[in-house]
Symmetry: C3
Subunit: 144 residues, 3 copies
């Protein structure tokens, strides 16, 4: 497929969140990628938080990401009696658990200058806290 | 360990599934890898779907992967009253949730021309839909 | 960000565990990394087991990792009536499930010679068995 010429690129993405739920970042990543002139390679996204995470989900029906958020709220209840770590509010320890159940990092192959996502795949930042946050995602690209 | 000579390779793996459960793909990946003449590197597998995923599990006792599938069926019930996204059947939204709880992508170091898997580790495509599907897994290899 | 000069390095980390819970390995990884003279790149950690896993969590309040372990014990009960795979003890099948719900592999961008971790992020080996084990984590570094 290639020989030599591999280079690295990096970028910091900032995502403003407004409470628990999934925020699609496919477009922002694709936009940055399109400026790097890389035809094939590997793109890694890494979220620098322990109460937000990453996931790839269907981006066709918005009910899917609403149901996903609801499932995690039911699976990891906000109930201080269940946790010792309660000083940062009832949503903080559940946020850490939700993050541990999903992904801190995602790597996606690049083909013909684009992420090799399936037809319905979107990349989401998964916010697990109730109040607004500014989340930081490191993008690292290795390719040629 | 090395200097220079890094190259990239990619491949598409197709997996025919017959309902929920784990389908081992270690052999297919190893077979493709063995044709690339790469001694050390990093192999990434990326599944292009949101209702199938990847996992590494024990490949010694088949009861392990049966129990794993059963656990996920209990954890994420097929019950339309729990979900808004029901138009694609009672198994579709649970499939998305099961995928979010496992892995869309896996990267495995390559040493001496082979994946650095532990003794009992097998790589599985985890099918979350009830009916047969043809699943696509992108393999990306970076190495020398 | 760079052109050429990419090199690979690898290392094996051994972690002695003493029962279920999270064992921080951030320091060991950082220490090995600091000896490789790599300014930018991608570091991959891969655990060679199916009853231990990796996770990134808050390393400020030790109650967080205690609560995380407790949550997983409640989510995946040690109850032989739930599983077919029981020959290796009541904690073995739950260990496989806990591993499937977390991470076998983590990749972290390297910037200015250091892992691009967020302020409170620590890397943990998550032990899912009750008795002591010696766990093996493969580190792979690609960078320049």
């Amino acid at each position: 497929m290639s020989n030599g010429g591999l280079r690295q690129f990096s970028h910091r993405l900032h995502v403003a969140t407004r409470g628990k739920g999934l925020y699609e970042i496919t477009g922002e990543i694709a936009s940055w990628l399109s400026g790097q002139s890389v035809r094939s390679g590997l793109l890694t996204a890494f979220v620098q938080h322990t109460s937000a995470s990453l996931t790839i989900q269907e981006n066709a029906d918005p009910d899917v990401i609403a149901d996903l958020n609801t499932f995690f709220s039911r699976l990891v209840p906000e109930d201080n009696r269940l946790y010792r770590h309660t000083v940062e509010g009832p949503d903080d320890m559940p946020a850490h658990i939700r993050a541990a159940l999903t992904l801190t990092q995602l790597s996606i192959p690049i083909e013909q200058g684009r992420m090799a996502l399936g037809t319905w795949q979107g990349i989401y930042l998964f916010e697990h806290r109730s109040s607004p946050h500014r989340r930081s995602v490191v993008l690292h690209l290795l390719g040629e």
